[in-house]
Each structure stands twice: as structure tokens, then as C-alpha cells.
Symmetry: C2
Subunit: 419 residues, 2 copies
């Protein structure tokens, strides 16, 4: 037949399978706050919403200069300007993991970086290994391409380190990549070097490349160390995804990148194809690209320190408060801007799921946290730690009241964060 008999325009499977579980869960949740208590949203991973965390002035100035210069309005290579890629290469280079401008692809935010990585590796019938609990975007992106996500467990009792035996058991001949998210959303965990090496060993053993979601690079609390996974093993090919989003407190600016750590020439085809794929949408805006050399090299260390200090103060305070709340077990984070809390469900017989728990906490206390369900784990919820200190205190008071009101039975033994 020529054309269609009715106006019945169908969307592709690619589009229909692109499915964001967080959005779906949140849209179907009952999140009506208590009418007498202003809502406290500890749910959104956007450090800018409360006004306490702002980008560095020098960063804003660099962007203003970039716009005013009139030099950054035109088309640039789809992978980004040489200067911007060079700045990223310098920023990312570290012992054991040098990066050159030619290895960098600039993208419209880290989501776009991950989209390109998935587009280049995930085909129908393949699978990727993704963390549980984890950021759901990996699965959202892969499903469209007919690629299955297999979930490897993170262990709460081991600071959310990877269950290596489980990870290894999931590798098979369909595995095209292992996704590592370090520091982690939603866990706030930061992997020590030895653990990264153990993960790398598995990847190298089976010759599976890593997609490293390092959007929280360097976002670690005092005393912790951040290591890019590419730096721990000289033979491991890594697509390292990063960006300005979190550390520079500018999620809306959509500045992300991929650094391709080719090893043994394993990533030559992939690198070439990433460059071609970047032409589908022609990268990220030139205003921020023009400012990138200044942003990455001139932002004062004190800016990063101040941000992390605020978050760490909240993390400590919130951890200690939650520890005292009956029926809850917090897992102390080492970085990023989240803390996971286990709900000892036996002690809250009113609620069948973490979702119900979270909904009731909104209804009664106007404190909104995302349920574990959003990250594919049961009986947890996630707290965002970027709120002002005062707000965090109020939130903790309200959560305490909520737990006291609903808790029945004994407080369970704590998980030791340093066990």
C-alpha cells in the first residue's frame, strides 16, 4: 500500500524503549506534602536548587568574557575546539592515565557522553553490566539499542564496594562493557585504589572495556582519595565520562566529555566512531567551550574545598542523626552528594515497600527522598546532602518524628561503615 489509511503515526521501538524509571516512579508517586510544613526536597541531585552552592565567580567571569569576546559564536569541530579539548586533557591527565586532546570528545553534558558510549558499544543482543544500586540512565540509554542491562551488586556493608564475585559471574559472550560509577550516585561511595584494581583485573581478564561514569570526579570528602579507574591498570581500555556538572555546580550548562583511554589499540574503531557520532548533534555550546581553559585551570582550590566542606558537614550531621532514628541504618558516604539509608522494614510493618515509606514521610513531614526503587534496590532511600545546613537540621528533626511515630520493635545493630 502507498502511505497509510489512517493518521496513525507510530513511534519507533528505540523511542518507546527509552524509559526513565525515576521519572516514571516519581510521576506516579503520591508526593503531597503536609499542608502545614513547607516541603524539603532531599530528592534532586541538583546542587544549585537551594542557592547555598553557587559556581565560582571566576567561572562566571570566564563565561561572560567568552560571550563578550564574540569569538565563540561559530561552528567548531563536532568533538569540540582544540583548546577546550586540550584543557580537558590537561585536567584529566594523571599518573598512569595520560590524556591528549585527540582522545577527548566534548558532549552536551555527561548524559550525552554516556549516550555516545552506549551508542558506540551497545547493539541488539548485547549486554552491559551496571551497578545496583545505581544511576538508572545507563539502562535507559541501552534499552533503546536492544542491549540488556545486567545488574552487579554493590555491598552496603562494604561501603558499597562491588561484589566482585557477582560481577564476574555476570560476564558472558554478550558483555560489551562494564559501567563503573565512582564516586557513586546514589551511594556517595568512593572506591579505594585497590578495589578499582580488582575491578580492572576482571575487565582485563575478560577483555571487556570500561565505561567509567566519573561525573563526581574529585568530589570526595577530606581524607578520601579519588582515582580515575584508567589510572589503576595500564592495559585497561576506558571510556571516561566527566563534565562540569557536579564539581563546578553548573548542571544546566551541559558541558560533558569523554576521554578515550585506548590501550593496545583496542579502542581505535570505537574512538573513530565516537568522533562520527558526535556529528549527529555537534557537541556542546561554544560559549562554555571558550571559557573551559580558564574554568578548568583557574578555579581556586578554595572553591572546591568550600563546596565539599558544606556537603561533608551535612553528611556527618545527617549520618549521626539517622543513626539515632529508630528503624533506619545510614551508610556513611565518602564523597559525591548523597547518602543511602536502609529502612529496616520489619520495624515499620505499616509500610510494604520503601516507596510507601517515602510517600508517608512526604505526606506527614513534607520531607521528600527518592525511594531505593529509583536505583533498583529495595528497602533503602537516598538523601541529597547539598541542602543548607539549617534545612538539613529541620529535615532530620522531621524524619526523627516520622520514625518514632511509625517504628515498632527493636533498633537493629548498625552496619559499620568502616567494616
Amino acid at each position: 500500500m502507498k502511505g497509510r489509511a489512517t493518521w496513525d503515526v507510530r513511534a519507533t521501538n528505540f523511542a518507546k524503549k527509552t524509559f526513565n524509571p525515576i521519572r516514571d516512579i516519581v510521576e506516579n508517586m503520591n508526593i503531597t506534602p503536609h499542608p502545614d510544613k513547607p516541603m524539603i526536597a532531599l530528592s534532586i541531585g541538583d546542587p544549585t536548587v537551594f542557592g547555598n552552592l553557587r559556581p565560582a565567580e571566576s567561572v562566571v567571569d570566564a563565561v561572560v568574557d567568552s560571550v563578550r569576546s564574540g569569538k565563540n559564536n561559530g561552528y567548531v569541530p563536532a568533538t569540540g575546539t582544540l583548546q577546550a579539548r586540550q584543557a580537558i586533557a590537561e585536567y584529566m591527565t594523571c599518573p598512569g592515565a595520560p590524556v591528549e586532546a585527540k582522545d577527548v570528545i566534548i558532549c552536551s553534558g555527561c548524559s550525552c557522553s554516556l549516550d555516545l558510549c552506549v551508542s558506540v558499544l551497545c547493539s541488539p543482543g548485547s549486554s552491559i553490566l551496571v551497578p545496583r544500586p545505581g544511576f538508572p540512565l545507563y539502562t535507559t540509554l541501552a534499552e533503546g539499542f536492544g542491549c540488556t542491562s545486567k545488574y552487579y551488586n554493590l555491598l552496603p556493608e562494604k561501603n558499597w564496594q562491588v561484589d566482585l564475585v557477582h560481577l564476574e559471574s555476570l560476564v558472558d559472550d554478550t558483555t560489551v562493557a562494564i559501567v563503573i560509577n565512582n564516586p557513586s550516585n546514589p551511594c556517595g561511595s568512593v572506591f579505594p585504589k585497590s578495589h578499582l584494581r580488582a575491578i580492572a583485573d576482571i575487565a582485563v581478564k575478560y577483555k571487556i572495556p570500561i565505561i567509567a561514569d566519573e561525573i563526581y570526579d574529585n568530589f570526595v570528602f577530606e581524607g578520601e582519595e579519588y582515582h580515575p579507574i584508567a589510572s589503576v591498570h595500564p592495559e585497561l581500555p576506558v571510556l571516561a565520562c566527566g563534565g562540569l556538572t557536579k564539581r563546578f555546580l553548573v548542571p544546566g550548562w551541559r558541558m560533558g566529555w569523554i576521554a578515550v583511554h585506548d590501550r593496545n589499540g583496542a579502542m581505535q574503531e570505537v574512538l573513530g566512531c565516537l568522533r562520527t557520532l558526535s556529528q549527529r548533534i555537534i557537541g556542546s555550546n561554544t560559549i562554555v567551550q571558550g571559557a573551559l581553559p580558564d574554568i578548568l585551570s583557574k578555579t581556586p582550590q578554595s572553591f572546591f574545598d568550600d563546596t565539599l566542606k558544606q556537603i561533608q558537614v551535612n553528611a556527618r550531621y545527617c549520618y549521626e542523626s539517622v543513626q539515632k532514628m529508630p528503624g533506619l541504618t545510614p551508610i556513611l558516604p565518602q564523597g559525591a552528594m548523597y547518602m543511602m539509608v536502609r529502612i529496616n522494614m520489619d520495624e515499620f510493618p505499616e509500610f510494604a515497600t520503601d516507596l510507601e515509606f517515602v510517600e508517608a514521610m512526604v505526606a506527614e513531614e513534607s520531607v521528600f527522598c527518592l525511594p531505593g526503587k529509583c536505583f533498583n534496590i529495595k528497602n533503602f532511600f537516598r538523601i541529597v546532602l547539598t541542602v543548607p545546613e539549617e534545612t538539613m537540621k529541620v529535615a532530620c528533626q522531621r524524619m526523627t518524628s516520622f520514625c518514632i511515630a511509625h517504628h515498632t520493635g527493636q533498633k537493629q545493630t548498625k552496619i559499620h561503615e568502616d567494616s
Copy 2:
């Protein structure tokens, strides 16, 4: 087998099939300019490269204000902020084609808009109808999804209007969309309302939605009129793609959009899926989004008039010059920023193809135009009209010398642009 025996990381078909013919052709071309003559690149569709065309001051100010305000750093909905979508809706609304904020998806440039349209409509085994000559991105985007491009002819002797009989003959049961690019790259043509209606009638007859690439909206010379195709037929569902890129002279800013003209509810599924797809990369940067209401409503008309005047002066001058060059036949443009020139190949026996002609013109005269091959048509080349007037004059002199040097035989009769 578990994993791989060798480090043999393969890219997906999606990535491998994403292929940009312009880039491929240009990279394999011999474009060594004459050593004594500075290169004049009449090849790049970037109005900003020569410095004569700059964005309006008010637009730059709006962006600076947006950055300085500190209000546009955070995440916004993946489809864009309500204010920005509202501004776009107002900008695009016209008699017969109202647009509301809820119908708008903000994208990272018009390329990204087209990518989303293709992603939502083009599945394996389907086909889209695209113009020849035409912008090659449609095919680049569709191929990855296993969708075939079928080329409908534009008629140079009719101001590059669509060969409607040919267009209709290409419709079959695999057709998922007709792509219309008006005003056109590479033709510089602007379709009159009656012609748009004739195209719309075919689309409605077979119930095929239109993807309208209207990135050159309103970019028409004095005396010409621009009509969005959605405005000509009340029953035609259209995905109208636009952006700031061309008219506002800021290609690097990556601000594009889709306005979904749903008609008879035909596009409900598609609209929903476009919204989901926008979450893959989370739209465009918030700095420009924040400035969009001002940009779209406060840019003085004189700015647009000045831009078009410069281009039109070049168009007239270049058209008249090329008319006098032996062996060449220019087609007068009505808008956009390009002019197509037919090479009467019989009269240049030295050159077997437009590509060879263009290469020789670079080698001898350092004037670089893209060959018709880049746009899927033989025996033409495209001239970009955004260069400074003086440069255009020098280019025309050099092209004249080139034609005189290589031409043999009689000058053919002209095609009349108003025939």
C-alpha cells in the same frame, strides 16, 4: 565463551552507519590553495567565520545577564524551561499554526532536533523522503537506525521547487516521513505558499507526517515571503525544527527546538516519545535558555534586515558575475545564504566531475566551494554568500579567470530564475 579472547572492541552498526558524506568528501579532496593567493572559503555554512556578521548586541547582553543572574545554572526539564518554551511558542505561532509551550522540545541545536525526529520515526526497514540536492544530515541520522533515504528531486529550472510527481512516486508503505527543507541549504530557495500546499496535499493524501527543517525560517530576501509548512494545511502533522543558529548568527550556541504540530491527535505517541527521548541528553544549555525570551522578543528588526541585506547584496552581485562566467549557470536564490551554480560540464572537458572542477578552482585560484556531490547532485557547486562584499568580489574575479582559462565552446542559454 566468557568475555573475549583478544582486545577486539567493536563499534555498533548504529555507529558505523552514521556517516557524514560532506566530511568524507572534504577530507578526501585535494584542497591545496594556490600558494600566492590567500584562500577564500565559500564552503562553510557558518555566517560567523568572516567577522562581518555578528549576533545582535541585545542578544549578547541577554546571555551575559543570564549568566550573571545565577538563576540559570541548575537542571531544568529535559524539554526545556517553561519560559523558554513559551518564548519559542510565541515566536513560532502564526495564523493557521499556533504553537503552545507544551508542544515544544528544546534541543542542543537543530541537528539535535532532527536527530530526535529521526529517532522517533525511523526504524529498520522504514524510509524517509529527503530532498536532492539537500543537506546530508537527514541521511546521516537515518542510516544509523536502518532507515533508507529516498531522494525526491528539486527542479533547478523551477527555482528548486519539488518535483511533485517524483515525490509522490516515492511514497510507499515504508515511508515514515517527508523531510522538507525550506528555505533550503544548499539551494537558497524559498517555497511559495501554493507550492507548500501542494507538498502538504501529498503528505495528507498518504497520511505521512512532515519533518520540516526550518532552520532558515524568515531568512528570506526582500520581496520574498516565508511560510512555515504547518501553516498551509490544517490537517498536516508537522515536526517543525528550528533554532537560533542561522537567523541569530550563533551556530555554536547549540540552541534548537522542535515544535510538534499535532493534528487529529496523530502525533500524540510521537510527542510523548520525543519528551522521553529528550531525557537521553537533557536538552540544551540553560544559559541560552534563560536568555531566550529576550532574544526572541527583543532583537531589533533592523538586525535581521541588515544581515539579509548584506547577503542579498552578495547574492545579486555573485549571481550577475557568475552569469557572465563562461560555462556556468547560477540559480538565483530567494533566501538562506547559498547559491547553487550549474557547471555545464561539456564546456569544461578537462574535468570529469564537479569535484574535479572544484579541486582545480582551489588549486589555481584558492576559491573553495563545496561540490554538488556533497548534496547528492551532479554538475553543481554551492557558493556561500555570507562573506564580506569585498571578498565576494575578489572571489568572483578569480572564478571568472578560472572559467575563462578552462572553458571551451559556446556559453549555453541561461536558465531563467523566474521561469
